[in-house]
Symmetry: C3
Subunit: 139 residues, 3 copies
């Protein structure tokens, strides 16, 4: 069994953003030389998500609006986590809706995707350097 590890780094200028990271994951897979196995991609920070959906800007706008309705940023005093001096409690909630990680099948040396699947990094508390882990195991 082979294994491969790669960290990806992101620094979004805005508090919230969705970034298509499929090319970076595909590059890691190519470098790994793994043909059959599983590829884990996870946020290493707890106010960010990795998820699979559509690369369509209207949808990303809808996610943004919807998550803000489910878990509003303000008033920040609404959250006990923010009593610690943080203002990012909402980001910890939004991340749970969108998920921490995806596991993607690797078949014939490629990410084994359906027609529209793309991997996104979902940032909910950006404006600083944050990391995503890619771990691939297989043969």
């Amino acid at each position: 069994m082979k294994s491969f590890r790669r960290e990806l780094t992101f620094h979004t200028p805005t508090r919230r953003a969705f970034l298509n990271i499929t090319p970076q994951v595909e590059e890691a897979l190519r470098e790994s030389g793994i043909r059959e196995g599983l590829c884990l991609v996870n946020a290493m920070h707890i106010t960010a998500s990795v998820f699979i959906n559509d690369d369509e800007s209207g949808l990303h706008h809808d996610y943004e609006q919807w998550l803000e309705r489910l878990a509003p940023h303000a008033p920040i005093e609404h959250y006990r986590h923010n009593d610690t001096g943080e203002d990012n409690a909402d980001a910890h909630l939004k991340r749970q809706v969108m998920g921490r990680e995806v596991v993607v099948a690797v078949t014939g040396g490629r990410l084994d995707f359906g027609p529209w699947e793309q991997i996104f990094y979902g940032e909910f508390d950006g404006r600083r350097k944050k990391r995503v882990l890619v771990k691939i195991i297989g043969d």
Copy 2:
């Protein structure tokens, strides 16, 4: 390390449905001959989910009602994704709540389940052919 791949195909007559796909996943596992490992089951489409919960019709009714409250289908003009000509923005949101995939342990040649765990395909934009991927790795 062995690996095994199987696609399952579904065509639900209704827009939304929950289907128990545990027997198909168990059949794939038997064919794989894998005794110890991990089994990934994921929706290949981005308006559908694979999740594990209870095979109880009242609960499925509750999921349906709850998801419709969290991410209503109508008015479809509410969503920017639907400006593309689609009417399924809500399905992309519902899928995030219920999840894209499950990873199940394989132990002694069986899905290593708790007492009530069953695998479901959650369709949120059906009435067409859609696929689920089963990928199993192990020995």
Copy 3:
């Protein structure tokens, strides 16, 4: 390829609770002897979650309040699942938001975590014995 299986057992005195189970998962990993691979940790019951987030009591209070707003316990007659004699339909919903499982990379014999990642058991229908499965595969 090696594989390792461990069940963890919990019995929370309250209906809902969040328990940091990272030490137990780390102990399982040490016993496994696996240095490179993937570690699956999943609730074996369908009214509980395993998730990764911050070990901060204010945040756990926020999760509790937020989940109760998204999927209220009462009135229990609101849910068709509760017509079966149960009163835990809300727990099945809350578990979907927080997730069933996490998959964690194993690198150099350790859980390959970001700076604040900790694994939690989220109980939404406790006051009885329930189990979590740890399955680790790799070399």
